[in-house]
Symmetry: C2
Subunit: 250 residues, 2 copies
């Protein structure tokens, strides 16, 4: 379908078409589109821009990844479809491993998402052969690799389900979420919740990684000044202010 550039939601419609194409290619699960739509709505409420609070979270997250011993970035179908190249770059800049981890797991889709990530620059992507199981969680979603998620100390989980976020926390890992819903179980369980659209969050993090790479003192400061629940509360207040402002301008 031809989308008119005048349409007020042009960018979101173009991304929709791309996500539809990614379903046809078998990267994104059909119901992954519903999750994408949920995110779209929250992004609309946030104002479709990276807030100051999200910037603080992105900076702290990069500092946490850079200070970790065994950092891992998990990637599901939606994350790969939206930001495979950026996530691969981020893994390289923060010396993190990449592991594919699906909500609707099928062997075929795991292979496809791993291959896609590697085509987009991901190095030795884990997840094709899971050899470990997360405790505290049922179903196929517990599957992971010993080398990657299971042994990690810090995990970045973009667009993750609440059950898995909480299971990772219970294992004692530091969890960084990228999630547009500031009240999701994932955002609340995380040590650092980045409430930002994935592609914007990743490009912000890449910039911060370049800045913080050679400055361990500044990395400490970024972490020390970050408080997740306080940050989420300010984000929520911002959403309310946006709603009220739009209501007034109606």
């Amino acid at each position: 379908m031809e989308i008119s550039k005048d349409h007020p939601r042009y960018r979101s419609l173009v991304t929709r078409e791309h996500m539809g194409e990614m379903v046809r290619e078998g990267i994104v699960a059909p119901t992954g589109l519903i999750a994408h739509g949920r995110g779209e709505a929250f992004d609309y409420l946030i104002g479709e821009r990276t807030t100051t609070e999200a910037q603080g979270a992105e900076r702290a997250a990069v500092a946490l990844l850079m200070g970790a011993k065994r950092p891992v970035i998990t990637v599901n179908g939606n994350a790969a479809a939206l930001a495979a190249k950026g996530l691969a770059d981020l893994a390289r800049l923060t010396s993190s491993k990449l592991e594919v981890n699906l909500f609707h797991r099928s062997e075929e889709r795991v292979q496809k998402v791993c291959d896609y990530l590697e085509e987009q620059g991901g190095i030795r992507v884990l997840g094709r052969v899971p050899d470990a199981t997360l405790p505290h969680i049922a179903s196929d979603r517990a599957k992971c690799t010993l080398e990657g998620i299971f042994s990690s100390d810090v995990v970045l989980i973009p667009l993750e389900d609440g059950d898995r976020a909480m299971a990772l926390k219970k294992m004692g890992k530091k969890v960084i979420a990228i999630d547009l819903n500031p009240l999701s179980r994932t955002s609340l369980a995380a040590d650092i919740a980045i409430v930002d659209e994935l592609t914007r969050a990743v490009s912000g993090m890449l910039a911060f990684a370049k800045e913080l790479r050679l400055d361990p003192k500044e990395r400490e400061r970024a972490l020390a000044s970050f408080n997740n629940h306080e940050n989420l509360a300010i984000t929520l207040e911002g959403i309310c202010q946006n709603l009220r402002r739009r209501a007034r301008s109606v």
Copy 2:
């Protein structure tokens, strides 16, 4: 996939699977799932319940349909997938015509949605053979029938795109929207915007239709006491209060 009944979003996950199935059957367009997800997020913010404001809008909407000369209920793929039977019942109780009208139009899908609506109780569903065009709007979405949408005086548009809502308004029609986003162009353009999840809205409207059927005075009162922008503003204020309450209970 087996969904655990303990999952906090059980009902929404079951609906997701149903919508995925409706994509496989060709009733819902793949990107219709994204629109569904957007709605889910707004419903979450509203509290997944019918607000007092939505009840007022549903009652006024039924009164408007019942007082109309040529009322039409439009149905797209998502609306059919979620509430075909309820919409067919509502059409009967309010003497409205049903017309299928798709955002991503294909002849095949129009046929399928029309057939599906008729299987679920819809009588003589219009839209298979469009013979009129809405002004003020480009693309395939302008197609409609002379007997239905084109000649209508009141149109109920569940889950409709803003462009079409505005085009219908410009033609001088009274527009009733069912849309979970209280700030969407559709909600703002409508004479009556029902900010409620579709299945809850339709079942509320069916109850009001039974109540108001024999009471034209009460129908007048329901309409006279309704103010769309005031109602939307109260809905928005409720969303803000929900967000703050949840933020406090974190």
